[in-house]
Symmetry: D2
């Protein structure tokens, strides 16, 4: 549950005595009431992470005043932090897809239904087949095909469009092109991909075909932030489904679609609710 209309504060630092008390006392001393608090200390690298939801009502600080007042505490604990204010504009999500439309349509629905707190100013595809259903939903569709020798130019155009629509998040909804290291670095922790296997099994292409050949008894789907290493980024959500010998590749693809939709939408929701922190190759998901 996310309480509507709250301020969300995320904090990470090396684990230290008194960090929880220090931050919650700071909030309280400025009239803030903490209604949700999650924290975690990673046993491996000793890294501390905390997420607070603070009632807007009664909290005396605005964006600038908060930054000014918080700086001492942040320095003392060497905090990294970010804060989101409820009056801020909704996040702007750009969805990229190739031929397969199930994840894209699912996201369109959930945003239209208000299930995801975001706007969807643009859909980009390297294929033209989904234009009708996207524009039919009243959304902007840009067809940017990837042609031999023109991949760099295409990606440049993608990045221009992201800037043009002031995007906050890119969702690869079965977008089957690899992004350049430059692009990925510039959008670190802001590109979410869906992979149609339970990673790290079946990294790379055609995972359902390989799952069928290998004779596994479960299939899965994985959402993750995109990093330079293909299919190696920090995992946000995963789910699996049992299958049996009667399922051929087409069955795996059909059943997998439902997994992919739900797993990707869940990752996007968690990201938009500021519940995901990527730390190294792993994520903390405060849900």
């Amino acid at each position: 549950m996310t309480t509507p209309g709250t301020i969300r504060l995320l904090v990470t630092c090396d684990d230290q005595r008194g960090i929880i008390a220090a931050v919650t006392t700071f909030i309280g001393s400025h009239g803030g009431n903490v209604v949700e608090a999650d924290q975690h200390t990673d046993a491996v690298d000793g890294r501390f992470a905390m997420r607070l939801e603070i009632e807007r009502d009664g909290f005396e600080l605005g964006r600038d005043a908060f930054a000014a007042a918080f700086v001492d505490l942040a320095e003392r604990f060497a905090l990294r932090w970010r804060i989101r204010w409820p009056q801020e504009r909704r996040r702007r999500v750009v969805v990229m897809a190739s031929r397969e439309g199930h994840c894209l349509r699912d996201l369109i629905w959930r945003i239209a239904e208000g299930e995801l707190e975001a706007d969807l100013p643009l859909v980009i595809s390297n294929h033209a087949n989904l234009r009708g259903s996207v524009e039919g939903a009243g959304l902007r569709y840009e067809h940017l095909p990837v042609t031999p020798g023109e991949k760099t130019a295409q990606e440049r155009r993608v990045r221009e469009l992201l800037n043009e629509v002031d995007a906050d998040l890119v969702v690869l909804a079965r977008y089957m092109q690899v992004l350049s290291g430059d692009f990925v670095a510039a959008w670190r922790d802001r590109i979410i991909n869906i992979h149609h296997s339970f990673l790290p099994a079946f990294q790379g292409a055609r995972p359902y075909h390989r799952a069928h050949e290998r004779g596994v008894k479960i299939i899965g789907a994985t959402s993750h932030y995109v990093t330079e290493d293909l299919d190696e980024g920090p995992i946000i959500t995963q789910a699996t489904l049992p299958i049996d010998h009667r399922d051929d590749v087409r069955d795996l693809i059909r059943k997998g679609r439902d997994l992919e939709r739900v797993v990707l939408a869940e990752a996007v929701r968690l990201h938009l609710e500021d519940k995901v922190l990527a730390i190294g190759r792993r994520t903390i998901v405060f849900d």
Copy 2:
């Protein structure tokens, strides 16, 4: 994860501003380092609950000193609280069973393996068939049959034995007798039962038979604290399993055993790690 050797503090009160900061500051002011903190505010009844794990090392207070020092804060916020110290003796669990031994044996194993942080000073059964395997594991077994007209006397004897072994928790591991209201009231939130259905479906007797007759496609198991209302106590853990038309009642019973074992053991583990708070008909499980 529970950090070994930590102090565990559980607190509930009506939701109020500053409660998290107040408690964590109190801990910090006495040299305590909070390594795990979970909290939840119930949206329905406005009840706040918090669980802290505090490093023993450095914390300046002992049991009595803590109680003395905490009293002001507790009164100010009208807190209900309990604390567990790592040097305290292990909890003493008495398991009660009838004929079916799978849950009982599973608990014996897990305690022997150190998976559950408890001692098992006594097993009570209204049948004699499990005596061999219990005593074979070096444990005490009391056979207290329930005969017509002697149910009250049998229960009195059960309660005497619980006192005699200084029990902290009673686990009904497929014990098929109903306990009296008196007993249940005296052991409120300290008796855990396993019911072999996904409650509230199939309350009462022979749930697998009724599940088969009804033609459900999933079966389940439910662990809960025992209250006067049969199968109505606060649920701690539940799990389900898909079945199909090929499964007859014997299959449901067989498959259900694995569910029951895991669901019951998980509830006992959570209780022993002080992670369960029963509030009204519901539980908060800080895991």
Copy 3:
């Protein structure tokens, strides 16, 4: 997996020696090759059921010739049977919904994608809010409100429309009105409903609210054929999802939507592939 283009034969009878051999030999003697065979004998009532997929290619019989040739064998074993020929027209599905559109839209998608082998000639709703998205998909939408004293007339109009569009199957995709016994009897085993709980738990209204009050740790969804006894019809598919104390009723509703969509679509798919046999209160699902 269903092999495209095969003939499907479903047979039920009291369990008898030689029934499998008799039927498969009959098929073979007319040039038919059985590519898929499932059978089940219910241990409770001794009822035998079988489903065959037969290659169209090589099979010498057409619809009328089959009926004429099969009659002897059918009488000898007192068979009930039905057969579907691959050249037959696609089944015509009418979806009924109320205010909530997630199941309806999901079915529209799956039919448009070819995931469900059906046509969707009509959507009926007692509310007007979904008209736009239905007509936007190029489908016919009839708004038949239920007003006090006019329920019977509304239902009569529904049934007229079903006849008018020559419907084979009615899917209640969160249609919140109770159908009359007459209607249900006339459409026996041809109306599929989705109930938003793991039946038999939380029969009746507002299951998510009651699940939250009860404090269950799993939620579910159930698809079933509609019978006169509300929420008591033969269950086709069920699924469940874990929840915890942090999930409020809105979370249950949100998470439940994904369950409902998948559970209902799966039931419709199985029905359309002639894989479901309702026998008494239970179903055999040959998947």
Copy 4:
């Protein structure tokens, strides 16, 4: 469900017209009543497989007579087949383990309970720590340590013991030694291993540690027939469990134990009920 006391016939061949009718007619012509029939045709390699359960009562053939009578049909269709008679002696299972006892104890229980239709004449371990609990259950325990340079001799001794106790099946219940190619070839499709990950993810050593490092959100367990390629054998059963960032490696190990036990026991049960057919790298599981 497996019907007690039935004859089980398994048949594989290249897919051909009339194979089901031919076999079931043959059975019927000798007084046999087929009470369970499963078949599957693999779309990839066109291989047909069938499993029949035939009532003992009324079937006119014994072991030798069956073989003599079936030979013509078997040659005509180039069948590979095996048959199990209900009066045959129970299969003899040898369990091999290393230090970890949870899978071993689980199998001991299930066999003692009659859940698995087998005898357990011998437990072999390369460690001594489980001797007490095995011998305490009245079972024979052989400690065969693996010392440098003596691995071949140790394996020779293992194989002698398997012959000595007339073993039918070897179950590697967390046996952490690699078997030689010779051994594996001689016991093809008769050695079942449990691997503590959802293969093909985390093949090899320390899968829980690697799962934790990778930050996956699910863990799994896989049972498979052992082949020369480590962790590459045909998969029989798999299951998964969700985890989150709060789970450290010890939690994964603890939670994984319950998965491993159930996944391995299920594979052994299916094998003993003659429901598993390994075809290439994959299995058909008729359940």
